[in-house]
Amino acid sequence: MNAATGRAGVVRAHDDAGSMDKLAHSVLDDVLYNIISDLLMKTHREEKTARATTAAIRVEKMASDASESSTPDSKPEVRIETDAAIYEDGKVLLKGNPLKTTPEILCPKCHLPRLLHPTDGKGSKKPDPSIIYCKKHPYIDKPGCDIYGQSWVGPGPGRGKKKKDVEKNTDSPTPEQRPPNVLSFPSATCSKCKRCILVTRLNNHMGSCIGNSGRNASRAAAQKLSNGGSQHDGTPPSSQKATPTPGSRAASPKKRDASDDDEESENSHKKKKHKPAVTKKVIIKTKPTLKKEKVKSLSSLSQEQKANYDNLTSSVDVAPKKVVNKSVSPIKKLKVGNKPPLGSPKPKVKHIREADGESESSGTLSSPPAPH
C-alpha cells in the first residue's frame, strides 16, 4: 500500500498518527495527485499534438516547395527529412519527441507561427516584431481591458446615466487623440427610419420609432379595442406598420412638421385646406400664409362643413388653449373618436395628425368620417 501512495507528497500524516489518520491522509494525497496528473495530461496532449502538427506542416511545406508541382494538393514524390519529421510517399513520420525537436507552434489553419504569450497583462511578453504571427493570439488578462486588450471611451452606456452624459460622450471621441485599442461606441441604422442612432440609444429610439412605447402604446391599445380583442394577430401591427404617414410623422421630431406640411400641400389641395385651420389651434403665429389659402378653399365646401370650420377657427383665434378644447366639443360629436386625450403629452403633434384624418375624410365627401 505504501509504495503506491504518497506520490504528490503534499498531504502527509504525522509519524505518530493513527492508522485511520494515515489512511485519510494518503487518500487525500492520492486524489490531489490525480487532479494534478489530469491537468498535466490535458496540457501535455494539447502541446504535444500541436508540436507534432507543426513538424508535419513544416516538412510538407518543404516537400511541396521541392517538387515544384503546379497543383498544390497532389502528393509530391520526394523524400524530405528534417530534425523532427520525415516526408515520404505522402506520409509524415515523426522523428524523436516533438516536444524536444519542435520549439514553436504553427497554426494548422494559416500555417503562421502562433504567438505563445499574451501581448499585455498577466504573463505578457513582447512579441518579435519581425515575425508575422497567426491572428489568433492568447487572450489578455488585464484589469480594465477585455480579452483583446481593448477598452472603451467613457463609462458604460445605459444604466443610471443621464441623456446629456451620453450625448457628451458621442462628441468627445473623435477630436481626442486616443490609442487604437480604446474604442468608442458605434452608431447603428434604425431599420425603420434609416437614421443613424448611437448604439446606446438604439433601444429608446426604436421604442418611439417602431414600438408601442409612449404615445403609440395608447393608440395601439385603442386600435386593438376597436378591433374587438383582435384575434387576428397580423392586422393591428401590420396596419400600423403599413401606414407610415400618420404614424411616422407623429413620431418624428416637432421641428420637421412645418416642412412636412409644405410638401403635402403640393400633393393634395384638399389637405392643405383644413390643416391650417386646426394647426392654428396650437401654432397660431407660425403659418400666416396658409391661413389665406384656407380662406380661399373654404368656399368649395358644403354649408354644413363651412359652419363647422368657421366655428372652429373663430374659437381658436380668440380663446387660449384650454378653452379651445372645451369650445370645440360640438365638433367632437361630429368627428367621433378623433379627439386626443386631454392629458396627451405632446398635444401639438397629436393635433396635426388629427387634422390629417379630418382632411382625408372631407376630401372624399361621399364617404363617412373614417373611424379611428
Binding site: M1, A3, A4, T5, V27, D30, N34, D38, M41, H44, R45, K48, T49, A52, T53, A55, A56, I57, E60, D73, A85, K91, V92, L93, L94, N97, L99, K109, C110, L112, C134, K135, K136, D141, D146, I147, Q150, W152, P157, G158, R159, G160, L183, P186, A188, C190, S191, K192, T200, R201, L202, N203, N204, M206, I210, N212, S213, D233, P236, P237
Partner: protein
C-alpha cells in the same frame, strides 16, 4: 484529433488512420515500428487496446486499478496503473521498467485515462489511430460511429466530404474570428445580450446557422429574427472584428414582432432575461419550424432547430388517493423552472440560518422526485378527490435550460413590490439527470453506465443577475472549449472556474455530453 467520419475499420483487418495533411501518421517512431511489424501485430495491438479501453470505461475501476506486487499480492491504487498493450499484465508505475526489460514490451495504457505511454520515448504518446478510438470511447461509449450517421453517409454526396471540394467552395474565416465578441447595450438591453451570448456559444445553434441552416437569401419574411440571428452568427464567426456587436436587427425584429405573450417585454425598460429567452425560442421556432404556434402545455413536437435543441418532455402522473386510479399527461417544456422561495423558507425554519444556501440538486429533487398533494377530479370516483401528483422527465433535451426563480411577483407582473431571492444556489459543472427521468437503473453495470452517460450534462453557460431587482444588471458566462469567458455587454473577459461557479445564477444552460 477531430472525429472525422472515416470508414470504420473492418473487424478482420485493423487499419491505421489514413494520412491527412498537417498530421503525422503515428504517435512516435516506436508505434510506427510496432504497427510496421505486419497486419497481425497491428490487429492484435488495436484489438487489445480496445479491450483495455472497455475495461477502463465500461466496468468498475477496481480492475485496472489493481496490480500485482513483487510478492504476488494484489495492490489496489488510487493513482494510475499501467496496462501492458502487448500482454494482459497490469503494473504500477514503478514496475513498468522491470516488465519492459523482461518481456520487451514497451507500450502501456494509463489505467485512469486510457492514454498510451511509450517506454522508449519515456513520454505519453498521442497516436492518431489509437487516440481516435479513445476519444470516441469517452465521447459516445462506442468505437464506431453511430448507426444513424452511417445510414446518412449512404445518401450524402461523397464528393462533398472531400477536403478539396470543401476548400474550393468555402472562404476560410480568419484565425481571429472565434465568436468571442461583446454585444453593445442599446439602452437597458443587457437582458437580451446575455441570452444572445448563450445562443451564440451553443454549439448546436452555431452549427445550424453556420451550416446555412436558415436560408437568409431566400427568406421572404420581413424583419425575420432568424435572419437576424444568421447575420449575427456570421459576424461573430467569420469577421475579424473584435469590437462589440450592435444587435440592431435583433432589436428591431424584437420591436416589430407582436407576440401577445410578450407584449410586456417590448419596452425600453430593463426586462427579464428568462422571458426574452422564451420569446426568442418561440419566435425562432416559428421562423425555422413547422410554422405551428407552440402551445404551452401541449405535447408539441417539431423538427426545428429550437425544438431539437431546447425542448424536452415531462410526464405528470396524478394518482387518486381514493381509488388509486392514475392519469398521465405529457407536456413539452422549454426549460425547467425551479422555485427557490419554498425551499429557502423551509430551510430557515429548520436550521435558523438567516440566508441559507441551496444546491441545484435540492431544487431538482423538490420538483422531480418528491410528489405533492393536489385536488383532482377523478373520472372513476366521479368527484373531487385528494390526489398525489408526481412529475418526471420523459425526454431530456439536448440543451437543458434551468431557471432559478429568483424573482417573486406577489401579484401582477407589473407589481412593483416584486422582490428578489438572492440566496446562493450551488450548481455543478457536470449534471446527472438520470434520477429525474423515468428510466430505471438495471442490474447490468454496463447498461447503467450507458444510461448514465446518456443523461450526463456539462455546464455550457450561466446567466447571472447582479444587484437589486429594479436597478440590477445581467452578465453571462459562457464556456468555449474548456475556457470560460465573462460577457458583460460589449466587454469580454477571461473568467476563472471559481468565478463562474460562485456566481448568483439565474439561468443555467447544460449541454448533453454525448449526442448519441
Amino acid at each position: 484529433m477531430s472525429a472525422r467520419p472515416t470508414t470504420p475499420a473492418s473487424p478482420k483487418n485493423a487499419k491505421v488512420k489514413s494520412p491527412s495533411p498537417g498530421s503525422p501518421m503515428f504517435g512516435c517512431e516506436h508505434v510506427q515500428l510496432l504497427f510496421g511489424q505486419g497486419q497481425e501485430v497491428m490487429n492484435s495491438s488495436i484489438a487489445h487496446y480496445k479491450m483495455i479501453l472497455r475495461g477502463i470505461f465500461d466496468a468498475t475501476p477496481i480492475v485496472p486499478q489493481t496490480s500485482t506486487n513483487q510478492e504476488g499480492r494484489p495492490v489496489t491504487s488510487l493513482t494510475s496503473n499501467y496496462l501492458c498493450l502487448q500482454c494482459p499484465t497490469t503494473v504500477s508505475e514503478d514496475d513498468r521498467l522491470k516488465h519492459g526489460t523482461k518481456k520487451s514490451h514497451r507500450f502501456y495504457v494509463d489505467s485512469r485515462s486510457g492514454s498510451l505511454y511509450c517506454q522508449i520515448c519515456d513520454d505519453l504518446v498521442w497516436d492518431p489511430t489509437l487516440e481516435e478510438l479513445r476519444v470516441r470511447k469517452i465521447g459516445t461509449g462506442s468505437f464506431t460511429i453511430g448507426r444513424k450517421r452511417k445510414h446518412d453517409e449512404l445518401f450524402t454526396d461523397s464528393i462533398k466530404e472531400d477536403p478539396r471540394y470543401i476548400s474550393s467552395n468555402t472562404t476560410i474565416a480568419s484565425c481571429r474570428a472565434n465568436g468571442l465578441r461583446g454585444i453593445y447595450n442599446a439602452g437597458a438591453t443587457c437582458y437580451q445580450n446575455v441570452v444572445l451570448q448563450s445562443f451564440l456559444h451553443n454549439p448546436l445553434l452555431r452549427n445550424f446557422y453556420l451550416s446555412d441552416g436558415h436560408h437568409s437569401n431566400d427568406c421572404q419574411v420581413p424583419h425575420c429574427l432568424s435572419c437576424a440571428m444568421d447575420d449575427m452568427f456570421q459576424d461573430f464567426y467569420a469577421l475579424e472584428n473584435t469590437n462589440g456587436y450592435t444587435a440592431a436587427n435583433i432589436l428591431s425584429g424584437f420591436w416589430i414582432s407582436e407576440r401577445k405573450a410578450f407584449e410586456n417585454l417590448v419596452t425600453t425598460k430593463e426586462q427579464d432575461a428568462h422571458e426574452f429567452f422564451q420569446f426568442l425560442a418561440e419566435e425562432l421556432h416559428e421562423r425555422t419550424g413547422d410554422g405551428k404556434k407552440p402551445e404551452s402545455g401541449s405535447e408539441h413536437s417539431c423538427n426545428c432547430i429550437i425544438h431539437q435543441t431546447f425542448y424536452g418532455k415531462m410526464l405528470t402522473t396524478t394518482t387518486c388517493q381514493n381509488c388509486n386510479g392514475t392519469s398521465n399527461s405529457v407536456q413539452s417544456f422549454l426549460d425547467l423552472s425551479l422555485g427557490l422561495d419554498h425551499l429557502v423558507q423551509k430551510r430557515i425554519r429548520k436550521t435558523g440560518q438567516k440566508k441559507p444556501a441551496l444546491t441545484l440538486k435540492e431544487c431538482l429533487d423538490e420538483e422531480y422526485i418528491k410528489s405533492d398533494k393536489c385536488e383532482y377530479r377523478c373520472n372513476h370516483c366521479k368527484g373531487t378527490q385528494q390526489a398525489r401528483r408526481h412529475t418526471t422527465i420523459k425526454r431530456l433535451p439536448n440543451v437543458l435550460s434551468v431557471q432559478l426563480k429568483r424573482f417573486e411577483y406577489r401579484q401582477g407582473r407589473h407589481d412593483r413590490a416584486a422582490s428578489k431571492i438572492d440566496n446562493g444556489v450551488r450548481f455543478p459543472l457536470q449534471l446527472n439527470m438520470l434520477p429525474y427521468t423515468q428510466r430505471v437503473r438495471s442490474r447490468d453495470s454496463r447498461e447503467n453506465l450507458e444510461l448514465e452517460r446518456s443523461c450526463t450534462y456539462d455546464l455550457l453557460s450561466v446567466v447571472v443577475h447582479v444587484g437589486e431587482i429594479e436597478t440590477g444588471h445581467y452578465v453571462s458566462y459562457c464556456r468555449v472549449g474548456d475556457q470560460w469567458f465573462k460577457f458583460n455587454d460589449h466587454k469580454v473577459e477571461l473568467a476563472s472556474l471559481s468565478e463562474v461557479l460562485g456566481a448568483q445564477a439565474y439561468l443555467l444552460f447544460y449541454i448533453i455530453r454525448s449526442l448519441a
